[in-house]
Symmetry: C2
Amino acid sequence: MLKNIDLSRKVAKKEYKSQKDPLDIKLAALQRRAFELKVPVIVVFEGWDAAGKGTLINDLILPLDPRGFSVDSTLPPTEEERLRPFLWRFWVRTPPRGRIAVFDRSWYRVLLNDRVDGDLKRADVRRACRDILSFERQLSDDGAVIIKFFLHISKAVQKRRLEKLRSDRVTKWRVTKEDLKRHKQYGDYLAATEEMLSHTDSDFAPWTVVEAHDQRFATLKIFNTVIRRLERRISALERSARRKPAKRKAKGIPENLRVSILDQVPLSQSLEVDDYRDRLKKKQKRVRELEHMIYMKRIPVVIVYEGWDAAGKGGNIRRLTQNLDPRGYEVVPIAAPNGIELAHHYLWRFWKEMPKAGHITIFDRSWYGRVMVERVEGFCTDAEWRRAYREINEMEQHMVDFGTVVFKFWLHIDPKEQLQRFESRQKIPHKQWKITEEDWRNRKKNKAYKTAVEEMLFRTSTPHAPWTIVESNCKRFARIKALNTVIDGIETRLRK
Amino acid sequence: MLKNIDLSRKVAKKEYKSQKDPLDIKLAALQRRAFELKVPVIVVFEGWDAAGKGTLINDLILPLDPRGFSVDSTLPPTEEERLRPFLWRFWVRTPPRGRIAVFDRSWYRVLLNDRVDGDLKRADVRRACRDILSFERQLSDDGAVIIKFFLHISKAVQKRRLEKLRSDRVTKWRVTKEDLKRHKQYGDYLAATEEMLSHTDSDFAPWTVVEAHDQRFATLKIFNTVIRRLERRISALERSARRKPAKRKAKGIPENLRVSILDQVPLSQSLEVDDYRDRLKKKQKRVRELEHMIYMKRIPVVIVYEGWDAAGKGGNIRRLTQNLDPRGYEVVPIAAPNGIELAHHYLWRFWKEMPKAGHITIFDRSWYGRVMVERVEGFCTDAEWRRAYREINEMEQHMVDFGTVVFKFWLHIDPKEQLQRFESRQKIPHKQWKITEEDWRNRKKNKAYKTAVEEMLFRTSTPHAPWTIVESNCKRFARIKALNTVIDGIETRLRK
């Protein structure tokens, strides 16, 4: 999902100034309170070369009481450090209760540099992820707040920054040959980073991607994230000391600082009718051939359809299945859970519907309801939807390990298009059933849903089961894109 | 540790009868309460063929309301089940809230039968363990109580039972060729079981080994375990509903039903002085050679000494190190944690002392204090010592993955021997410093310590870092045994 994140976001100088001072004061107060409550805090900075780690770390520590924090730079391990297990040098640097330890690069170094350089094999990656998760879970169980930032910039911006540094005699030395080499390997690092983020994101130590083109934006996001995480932990401790019930909802960071993925989706893409008819026929024929082939090879396929109301899920699914042999696929529509379903773990009803090897199951809405509608409407607790990202990733990993091909479509339309479709549905008698009061209510909560959707896309787009955003303002374009994605995915799997 | 467990334990008929009725009534009441509180309960029965699974499951369900539970037999997967991911058939059978699901064999089948038959490779074992842990954690996070029994019998008893079944015309059919084949592979299954128990034991779903030679003993142990686990969960739920603080301590199952490992340690083993001197010299010479070899090969070694007060740790360590090059080893004595250590995760101070590759670190007492003295004296919470087993196993796994050879010695003496040593220390002026008021106090808590030690030996004896029980009533014997163990372990490692 990294390449879908909108990196162009900026904060104007005036706005920055008005916001920054209160944040400084708040952060300093929280540091003192964390000290009193003996909460250890770990802040990890990872990110691209020239993303501005040094500057941003400096921004963060300036308002802090210098007696209460330490900054540790993680260089390649020394000879001395190589003589001990990989986590040793980080364990010995964990902060005592009440202090803040900032890590400039961290234990994740091994999953990026060593991974790309090929020093780390696939099995080692898995082992390193397992060890890191144990490490972070142990610290978190012991009361530590763990905040992990990945500073994200594009290859173009990285290039510009490296060139600027090199062109200046004073800063030239800061760009090493290794930096330039790594710049050339931007794509490899991007893949390694996606893998790292998805394998080490957890409810107890979640990742925050920081859009780092604009320093002011990045600083505000970092401050707000640290503040929210500290507030959440401190208020939980204070509540449990007073034995008071939890407030209904934990605040997140401000709307305007959150990851933005959907706004820059190129919704203007479209397809002419003739072109569409032509392609549709060909693609549908091909999908039917593939249906037969996966049946012969006993490959199970899962296709998840999620998207805005009126984005065209039904029509899209119909085009996908129109030509299929009905014995080979099933469409499972997911509504609100019934009594027996509510009496089980929320994933239970989806496990029940898993396709047999050789079959296709299409979910019209899915387990992602947990982190969208259930989150937004308060149908589950904060802790429940937060841990659902991991639970979902684990379930999909299990499917993929078994050999399942998993497609996940997010059908995206903009609010204007949605409004038009809602209105036209109300006008056309035979389409009125498609539009309910609830649709209008959900539309009003658009902002909250968007936040949930973008976090979902970010946290559950894994290398083994990535999301595909389907631009659906033009239904024809959307249908062909979905067909193409399924065809490509299955063909790739068959070649294995 | 399985082979160290005392399997000879019995309960007399009269005692059984007097205890069983109240347990039946209690269990039925707890089932109703769990139903009201909507707690799902999962009970897993694994164990040897002819261990009596069927009978024991029957005993368990008799007092239950039949509308509130189900019993599922896990056979080899059907054709239909093979077409779906491994966990699918278990997910769909998880109980709804308030019900009890009893599994006669379970998802662990794959780690035993498939493992021994060689259908499961090492990487698959790791993946299966990971998936099982995710599965159990997800259910537990969702409120399920997960109780896992392994019914343990010796190879001799298994043989006797199989023969008895075969000799009777009525029961002959029950012994299949596969049963006999598995009986011959008892040793392989034992190794696979040890591995399974250690990799899938967790604070949220711990294993209980049931000594199943005597049906009455086994039944009482199973009943008491289920009752205690349900009581613990129900009282936690009731407390949190009323917002009352936790009682200081959760009760465990009765003393006389707990795993017994130490009682049948053959403490009478001894060594004559001449023989001892002879061997000591040779072994010490060999250890010194090995010290040099591991230095050259950069192999780190960790040796943990734990044991009863006055068991002779100091003298044993001295004999081990007497002849070593002091530049190659270090003895780290562990006392109560100081202020800065208390301000960190309890494992922090041990991480700091990890040996460099090529060096030996000997811990005189260790991280196991968490699950012994800290548990017994209430220096940490129930949740803290319960999760410590996993944390310790994770840390040791990390060391071993790095190439470290880990030895863990439990120096065992009986209470009579301990008393003699205490008394002789008090009489001899230059030994008086060795005996304090605390030693006498600890001695009075002997029972509680024994429970803690036996649980520790069972839960942290892993294939990668097993415990060695050192019979120490005769100090000479103990010293030679420790030396031999270190020599064998390092030689094995060097051959790799």
